[in-house]
């Protein structure tokens, strides 16, 4: 298929310019890239970039910046948390701190109950053994 069949305006001038340009490149020993070469270039570029970014993300400079930005984000979030907590408290609504407190209480209660149950299970097992009864095997928890 030739360029003339398309009749794109200015195509001939561009083709001549491009031909001149690449002719000069070729005369200077620059080889035209094939599709494979372009792909290889892209891969090489990305590989180099990957290595450099990896080194950069391990650098003192990056880590210090990461620390600083994180401190900023945490300070902002903490301010927000406090403001929300005050607002919710003023509206007599439970805040996250309140639910946290509740969860802690429930967990404490659960732990005490489980400990007590385990103690009771141990005593029952000991009694059953003492009585020589054939108790069903209970899974150790």
């Amino acid at each position: 298929m030739s360029g003339e069949q398309f009749g794109i305006p200015g195509a001939d001038q561009f083709t001549r310019f491009w031909g001149d340009f690449v002719g000069r490149l070729s005369a200077n020993g620059v080889a035209p890239p094939s599709n494979d070469a372009a792909e290889a270039w892209r891969k090489a570029f990305f590989a180099a970039m990957t290595d450099h970014l990896d080194s950069f993300m391990r650098s003192e400079q990056f880590l210090a910046a990461m620390k600083q930005s994180m401190e900023g984000a945490l300070a902002w979030q903490q301010t927000m948390n406090q403001a929300l907590q005050k607002g919710l408290s003023a509206a007599q609504m439970p805040s996250r701190a309140d639910t946290d407190h509740m969860v802690r209480l429930i967990r404490g209660m659960e732990d005490r109950l489980v400990d007590r149950l385990e103690e009771l299970c141990g005593r029952v097992e000991a009694l059953e053994k003492g009585a020589g009864a054939k108790a069903p095997r209970s899974a150790k928890r």
Partner: protein, 364 residues
């Protein structure tokens, strides 16, 4: 002849470019359909046990069960566990089910704000232990096989060290146990000098899912932010590629928060203080001694793992008390262990063979 001119964009080349743009444009409806069609989870499963947000899933297929000991999959807490059963042909679960194993998977669920106090003790001595007890009761056996992937492998090793009498075989899949090497970017970023884990958890409660996701993306920024979109453009008219791509993206973007206390302990005790391999970790008042693990173990290590470099997994075999221990290093990345075609062709059949040789057939 213009075609003989080097560097010249011939009419043919221009036409090809135009045709490619057209092809990609025409493929857009195909892309939309592929998004709509995306399904994750290949094997039918139903929950057989629930506790808080945990669900213990049992995979049920027509495959004949050949082994008595149930096999429990324990996945990490940062993503959803369906990566082990992503799609047909990319399902680790399917390998084991087809071999006749009775397979279960722990779906941890999504931690709510109130779960910020859940610790490693809760996940190992409570959730995993209760799931194991449920399986022992259900299957009428004393022990279970455990396969732990990534952070789930670390939790599994802690559990196996604390309750060795309940574990028959242990499969560690890309699981970190030794953080002394600084190969991984995660180890560098979590250095105590730059990363205040206490403050993060005190402020946020749980480790936020979006923050975790961005951290993982930035471990390989060129691959995730540049190469991936280019590859997608080049393959957007390939239906098979689209199906795999969207299934994978669904999983990758399905991060969940990690319970605050567990995250704090994991970063502090593992990444920063490396307590597990040194035998200095205490869980629920019990010291975790990996030498207590005496069951057969197989350590599956991904050679190209950027999340869990081989140096973090390799020391496991020397740290345990087992005499039957094996390592397989496989030339893929962290996720590739679960989803790459190569792993499904060459790795998982071998892992199933290993487990089969150490399993008691039904009826014995």
């Amino acid at each position: 002849m213009m075609t003989q001119m080097p560097w010249a964009p011939t009419a043919d080349a221009m036409l090809r470019q135009w045709q490619e743009v057209l092809t990609k444009t025409m493929a857009l409806p195909k892309v939309a359909q592929a998004i709509q069609r995306t399904r994750v989870g290949a094997t039918p499963a139903r929950p057989i046990y629930r506790e808080d947000s945990l669900r213990l899933l049992n995979y049920e297929t027509g495959a004949e069960k050949r082994f008595k000991t149930p096999t429990l999959f324990v996945f990490a807490l940062v993503n959803r566990p369906y990566i082990l059963d992503l799609r047909d042909g990319k399902s680790v679960v399917a390998h084991f089910v087809e071999r006749g194993f009775d397979v279960y998977n722990i779906d941890w669920g999504v931690p709510a704000d109130g779960d910020r106090h859940l610790s490693i003790e809760d996940y190992t001595l409570r959730y995993i232990d209760h799931a194991v007890d449920e399986l022992r009761k259900r299957c009428g056996c004393d022990k279970v096989n455990i396969l732990g992937y990534c952070m789930g492998g670390t939790l599994s090793s802690i559990y196996a060290a604390l309750r060795p009498e309940k574990v028959r075989n242990l499969i560690m899949l890309a699981a970190p146990v030794d953080w002394s090497s600084r190969d991984s970017l995660l180890s560098v970023w979590t250095d105590a000098r730059y990363f205040d884990i206490d403050r993060l958890i005190d402020v946020y409660g749980n480790a936020p899912a979006e923050w975790l996701q961005w951290s993982f993306q930035f471990l390989k920024p060129v691959q995730n932010l540049l190469e991936k979109p280019i590859n997608f453009y080049q393959n957007m008219d390939n239906e098979k590629y689209l199906e795999d791509f969207f299934a994978m993206e669904t999983w990758l973007n399905d991060n969940i928060p990690v319970a605050g206390e567990t995250f704090r302990q994991f970063v502090k005790y593992m990444f920063q203080q490396n307590r597990l391999i040194q035998g200095r970790l205490e869980v629920g008042g019990e010291r975790v001694d990996l030498r207590n693990i005496k069951c057969p173990i197989i350590n599956l290590i991904a050679e190209g793992d950027h999340l869990v470099p081989p140096a973090q997994s390799e020391p496991f075999n020397d740290a345990v008390g087992s005499s039957d221990r094996k390592t397989i290093k496989f030339p893929v990345g962290h996720i590739g262990m679960a989803v790459s075609s190569r792993a499904h062709r060459d790795l998982w059949p071998k892992a199933c063979d290993w487990l089969e040789e150490r399993s008691e057939p039904l009826g014995k």
